[in-house]
Amino acid sequence: MITDLGYGALAITFFLTIYGVLAAIWGVRTRRPDWIDSARNAMLLTFPLLTLSCLSLIYLLVNGHYEVEYVASVTSTRMPLYLRITALWGGQAGSLLFWSWLMSAFASAVTLRNWQRDREFLPWVVVVSLVTLGFFLGLTLFVENPFDRLWLLPGGLAIKSFFAPEGAIPYFQSDGKGLNPLLRHPGMIIHPPMLYLGFVSFVIPFAFAIAALITNRTDDRWIQITRRWSLVAWLFLSLGLILGGRWAYDVLGWGGYWGWDPVEIAAFMPWLTGTAFLHSVMIQEKRGMLKHWNMILIILTYNLVIFGTFLTRSGVLSSVHAFAQSAIGPLFFIYIGASFVISLSLLLQRWQDLKSDLHMTSLLSREALFLLNNLLFLGILVICFWGVIFPLISEIITGQKVTVGPPFYERATAPLFAGLLLLMGIAPLAAWRHSTVQTLGKAVWKPTVVSLFVPLIGFLGGIRNWAALLGFWLAAFVACVTLYEYGRAVIARSRSRGESLPTAFWNLAGRNRRRYGGYIIHLGVVLMAIGIIGIELFQKETQGTLAQGEELSLGPYTMRFESLAVFDTADGRNVARAVVSIYKNGRFVGELYPRRDYYYESQQPMTIPGLRSTMEDDFYVLLVDWQPISSAGATFKVYQNPLVNWLWLGGFVFIIGTLVATWPESEKSPATVRARRRTPLAAKAS
């Protein structure tokens, strides 16, 4: 009954998306607003219907309806309630439904905005949103249906199908396989929804961009409307990436946070173009330039969102053969191709109309530096994209797969990331429209001199790694510029309005949220850069097999193996848990409990590290192996990860900054804004 309800709601929503698309197009063709309103209402209705479908699946998951194939594959009787709920996105079919549900939420939210001023966009926003939603619903309904039941054929073969095959009887299982252990971590429970939210919310700016192209609205109205949408999308995508990194650090058991895995890169690529877009739209808003470029960036971002989902869902990463055999892969491929070709054709059609008479007047102006920043982001994108698809190209041409691993990405992207940090320091000091070497030099020299003390101190402290010294200088330079800019503005406001410094600080952030939120984001990036330099360039590791009471040393740390216990738990795990004592410079600092969990249901192990965290470093212990009979000896792998917690702190600051930038402006003063626009920053600095 509930299965039928969920499936029915899903099917109705799918047909509703088709109706909405046709009604919107018909409304435009016949100039009948009632059809367009009907399409809008259809889009609004997708959300409650898909909510019903999702709730039905959650009901099945929570109540252990193992006759449903999806339920049997991702849940088991031993799983706690919260994991049964989050199993909604724990498998392919459920995650596609969840993706569609989030998409419908955003699409419905768009319909609720006031369309009075830009009604010509409405039908096309409906079309693009519903085509995207309809594609995912089609996949869910016809290829990966989470409501498929298990059936036993007369020959004894069990198959999955929603409708009963001829002669088959329902196949009831007493228990399911349970959720993949890697997905049982709190980070993994939140990480996919955040990424999906980021993915689906980027569909909305794309829909407006396409609407602007179709309706030939060549002004920056679509950018004004979608500014906050883009920031929200970027916020979720950033949050998803940071949480994914933390999950990898805590669960994957290799002492790192980012392995340049294709799945990670799939989520990183739309973030790169999205970040470039957020910088580039400022040029269009301030100067009315780069209209083509912004269209290209949002088209790329949308297609990379779909491409990212395609990479993780099609099986193409395992091999091109898996991709060819999967039903979902070729469909994704066709959809991405069609969407890319149609979007670019529209852009080419409007190319002349989007041309701007305004020109870049200085190579050192802020807009020129932003454009350079875009080039670096796109450069990193090219490396990531090529690194992901090259193994597939190699497999197609030579029949042999190759691995493109971290050394490739690290060597290729490191100079570009360094360039981005440098620009992050210089660009805020450059004026819009015109900047000269003299004006920029005058603004830059003070932060440069102050920041040089950081690598100097590092050198005197014994650091001889030139890449680290350069990295620390760049981080210090950006921090100095950002704090200098912030401090100067706070003091100016405090003097001019007679406010106390904390009040001026608070009001300043409230008045121009995007700018000062951006500065907070830059500070977050600085902290993250410090953490990345620490772990990437100074990480130490060792491995050893210890008998009870024996010790293993790494840097200032000594670890003593105290004991090991192996036991079963009520939730179906066999746990091997070691107790180790940690000493730093000979002083006892605490005990750690690294463990290895083996899940009987899914027959998968999971390595949970023991972790001692400080801002200076992490001491990270993994239980690699142990002697099962005597429990007397165990193999440990230990890492010293310097400064890694600066990465997580930076991530937190980064998110706070994005929230500040996204929050609606509280105080509007057009006169002040106009005055500020007339006064270049660098000129003010002088």
């Binding site: 058991g253 020109h359 454009l371 090219v382 691995t403 691993g405 050394p407 050893g544």
Partner: protein, 166 residues
């Protein structure tokens, strides 16, 4: 007496043989590879840059499967036998193909992996330079620009509305 001498000769020959045999055995024993003399860190230093041929994108030093544990033992054995890193890496390539390496070996079609990104970035730089050059060209003379009185009232009205709504 003759018998006694013969016996002594026999003992002497036996002793010589024994010493030679013992020496040979000792030398042979000393050359027998002992994997236990190889540390985990030595193994991991090589395994870190080799990829598990079975698990997707997992370096061999951190892969927890039985197969990978066996491959790490192979590295240990080879190190004990005196193989160097390059020889061990080549051994795995011969056994499982280029995919065990962390990066594509620079030969044949693999060169594309290294050439395409810098070429694409250089094209981007070239496009940017061209754009800057075109922007630096002087703007058309003011006379060629549309005069305000050429703008239709509808457009003017729309501009005003837009400005009002900003």
């Amino acid at each position: 007496m003759k018998l006694r001498l013969s016996f002594l000769w026999l003992v002497l020959v036996w002793l010589v043989f024994s010493v030679v045999a013992l020496g040979t055995t000792t030398v042979t024993l000393a050359q027998t590879p002992n994997p236990n003399s190889i540390t985990d860190d030595q193994v991991n230093a090589i395994a870190k840059y080799l990829y598990c041929p079975v698990c997707e994108n997992v370096p061999l030093d951190v892969c927890g499967t039985q197969a990978c544990e066996q491959w790490r033992q192979v590295i240990r054995q080879k190190l004990a036998e005196g193989w160097n890193e390059a020889q061990i890496r080549q051994y795995f390539v011969d056994q499982y193909g280029d995919r065990v390496l962390a990066t594509p070996p620079p030969r044949g079609i693999n060169w594309l992996a290294y050439i395409v990104p810098p070429v694409a970035i250089l094209i981007g730089v070239w496009v940017l330079v061209q754009a800057f050059r075109s922007w630096k060209r002087p703007l058309p003379a003011p006379s060629s620009l549309p005069q305000p009185d050429h703008v239709s009232p509808e457009v003017l009205k729309r501009i005003e509305e837009e400005l009002k709504n900003r």
